[in-house]
């Protein structure tokens, strides 16, 4: 009797195991489906673009999750793509001047211009932005921009002194001028100071030598070479009173916190960085990415971009700018995105004082980088 009870217990146990096991196996597809409901979008971008203040609302509305991989500099971006299998990145935020190289290497998909609000652009340059098109085929959609000029501590430099790159040579600033540690914007500014204007990237041998001489003459003023964090800290704690190679994208963040810093476009001209979205070649989520780009170019997305916590950028669409003025007039005013303001970014472009950032035309990036290393060691 006892024996048969034990047998029965064993029997029940085996049945239970089978029942539970079967249940688990049968429910696996549902579990899988539940997981699959959130789609991951792999993003390659400058820091901040994949943070909740930028993508949170879109993630919530579309049940997607952005997985950002951040880079610093176009070279770094190209290398990360080159070292990854096709389709790794669904969306790539590129600096405008590197889109051509992305396209030449076959890393990005063509876009349909009809999907994006070209009729609403604040400036005609944005509709046919250099390098974003190959003939009539669009490869990248402009998102925003920012201007680089003289960034300074307003207690140490007057607006008039900052209105020329000459201001960096002010004797009182000895040891107090900092560099954002990237040769391209710094040497571009030195080229502008030398009066190369629109030809700032297209330097002959003599002009390149003159740019090097000008840069070297600034070395005695220089107190350090910094990354984003170091630049930020240097300006904030007053260690650096002027900064070369940056603009409102850093001082704007500090200004929002009440620091006495500002950026202006000097009379010799300024440089524009342009950030644009591309769809990664082989992405299986191209439609979702397209929706996201459309969202970022909508007025709501443009406002988010202008308010981005990591670093601000100006709107490129009329509707975006209008909405910024309506919902955040303080930020619109601070970033001069108001009609009639003297440093309105669009007005500056119209006046011909802004030059789009590019890569050297007659020298290689290596030549510029080699000189930059020499300069740092001088």
């Amino acid at each position: 009797m006892e024996k048969s009870n034990k047998k029965q217990q064993k029997h029940y146990l085996r049945r239970d195991v089978l029942r539970i096991g079967g249940g688990v196996v049968l429910s696996t597809p549902f579990v899988g489906r539940a997981w699959a409901q959130t789609t991951e979008i792999n993003m390659l971008a400058w820091y901040g673009h994949g943070e909740p203040d930028m993508v949170g609302a879109f993630e919530e509305a579309n049940n997607v999750k952005f997985v950002p991989k951040y880079y610093a500099g176009g070279d770094n971006m190209l290398a990360l793509i080159a070292q990854s299998p096709p389709g790794t990145y669904d969306i790539i935020l590129s600096d405008g001047e590197f889109v051509q190289q992305l396209n030449a290497a076959g890393y990005i998909e063509a876009l349909d211009p009809n999907d994006y609000p070209f009729e609403d652009m604040l400036h005609e340059d944005f509709t046919k932005f250099p390098g974003h098109w190959d003939g009539d085929t669009l490869y990248s959609m402009i998102l925003r921009g920012g201007h680089l000029g003289v960034s300074y501590n307003t207690t140490a430099m007057s607006a008039e002194e900052a209105s020329s790159y000459e201001g960096f040579w002010k004797p009182e600033l000895k040891g107090k001028v900092g560099h954002f540690d990237w040769h391209l914007p710094n040497l571009g500014m030195m080229s502008l100071k030398n009066g190369n204007g629109a030809g700032l990237w297209d330097l002959t041998g003599d002009q390149w030598q003159a740019v090097q001489d000008t840069t070297m003459s600034l070395r005695q003023q220089v107190g350090g070479f910094f990354d984003y964090g170091g630049t930020f800290n240097g300006l904030k704690n007053g260690e650096m009173l002027a900064m070369c190679g940056i603009g409102d994208w850093i001082t704007g963040v500090l200004e929002r916190d009440g620091a006495p810093v500002a950026s202006v476009i000097p009379k010799e001209g300024g440089i524009q960085f342009t950030e644009s979205y591309c769809i990664g070649k082989g992405s299986s989520k191209a439609d979702l990415v397209k929706s996201f780009i459309q969202y970022m170019l909508s007025p709501e997305g443009q406002v988010k971009s202008a308010q981005m916590l990591a670093y601000p950028g100006f709107c490129v669409t009329k509707a975006g700018r209008a909405m910024l003025q309506e919902v955040d007039p303080k930020e619109a005013k601070r970033s001069h995105q108001m009609d009639g303001m003297p440093n309105d970014p669009i007005a500056l472009i119209n006046e011909g004082r802004i030059h789009y950032r590019d890569i050297p035309q007659q020298q290689s990036l290596e030549d510029w980088n080699d000189f930059w290393s020499e300069y740092k060691n001088a």
């Binding site: 500099g73 007053g238 290393s373």
Partner: protein, 285 residues
């Protein structure tokens, strides 16, 4: 009689993990690094090749040698300062402190390693800035403000943050193991305190001290954080040059050249130091 050497399987079994570890995580990467120093970069992608172009380019650049000599100098200087600053504290802990106090002090010296080195480095901003704590204190006695951040001084302070606690610990352990009766004998025989240190303590601590200085040098020589964040990247040290080289054009092969030169230097310094540490003193006849 046969002297055939038998393999001791038991001993080998115990040694195998560390041998495998070294092969996989040290020898392997070093061989790979040497190999990529001969690769070339095309369209931001490393391509296998056997070309000397990276070696030629880096070793003929003035800025490489400027960075090299500067790094060698500043790392040596900081190792020397760490050794000198550590000595009084280590001597007191080894010869004057009770066993309990010494244990407590060593524990306190280990505590800084519980926090991130980067965090410790950033905390110096608050102290060394022109508007920082140190300048505020100096201001009370009518001095300053002095520029300390983004200078060689800042770099050395950063290096010492990394090496000084270690130097004190290693020196303490070294001197604590000296036979105290030898020190007492020297004093009883009329040797003055400083002469006792010079003629008894230091010779008996030679090996430990050389190894300590070597550790301080190695840590400073390869450190990126202090010269970048406290030295303002001027002049750039070799680790900063590696970063610059990889940042622009993704020149990993050229960065590998710099890294190999650093390793060769460290091997040479370490080899010389060990020779010095274990050299037997000349016996007077």
């Amino acid at each position: 009689m046969s002297t055939k050497h038998k393999i001791d399987l038991y001993a080998l079994t115990w040694r195998l993990p560390i041998i495998l570890w070294q092969l996989i995580f040290f020898v392997g990467p070093v061989v790979f690094m040497i190999a990529i120093s001969f690769f070339v970069v095309k369209n931001y992608r490393m391509t296998e090749a056997f070309e000397f172009v990276n070696w030629q380019r880096m070793l003929t650049r003035g800025y490489f040698w400027d960075s090299y000599w500067y790094t060698l100098f500043i790392a040596s200087l900081s190792a020397a300062i760490a050794m000198m600053l550590a000595f009084p504290a280590a001597w007191a802990l080894a010869f004057r402190a009770s066993e309990n106090l010494r244990r407590g002090a060593v524990f306190l010296l280990i505590i800084p390693f519980f926090t991130s080195y980067l965090v410790r480095t950033f905390s110096w901003y608050v102290i060394l800035a022109e508007s920082g704590v140190l300048n505020a204190m100096l201001g009370y006695v009518g001095l300053g403000p002095f520029k300390m951040l983004n200078t060689h001084f800042g770099t050395v302070v950063g290096y010492l943050t990394l090496t000084l606690p270690l130097a004190v610990i290693l020196q303490t352990v070294t001197m604590a193991n000296i036979d105290k009766t030898l020190v007492e004998a020297a004093r009883n025989l009329g040797c003055k305190p400083l002469a006792t240190i010079w003629r008894v303590v230091l010779p008996l601590s030679k090996t430990g001290f050389v190894v300590t200085a070597l550790f301080c040098f190695i840590l400073a020589f390869g450190d990126f954080v202090a010269p970048f964040y406290l030295g303002g990247s001027q002049e750039p040290t070799l680790p900063i040059l590696i970063l610059d080289t990889t940042k622009s054009g993704q020149q990993w092969p050229r960065a590998a050249v710099v890294a190999i030169m650093m390793m060769l230097t460290l091997f040479a310094v370490a080899f010389t130091a060990i020779m010095l540490a274990y050299r037997k003193p000349k016996v007077a006849r």
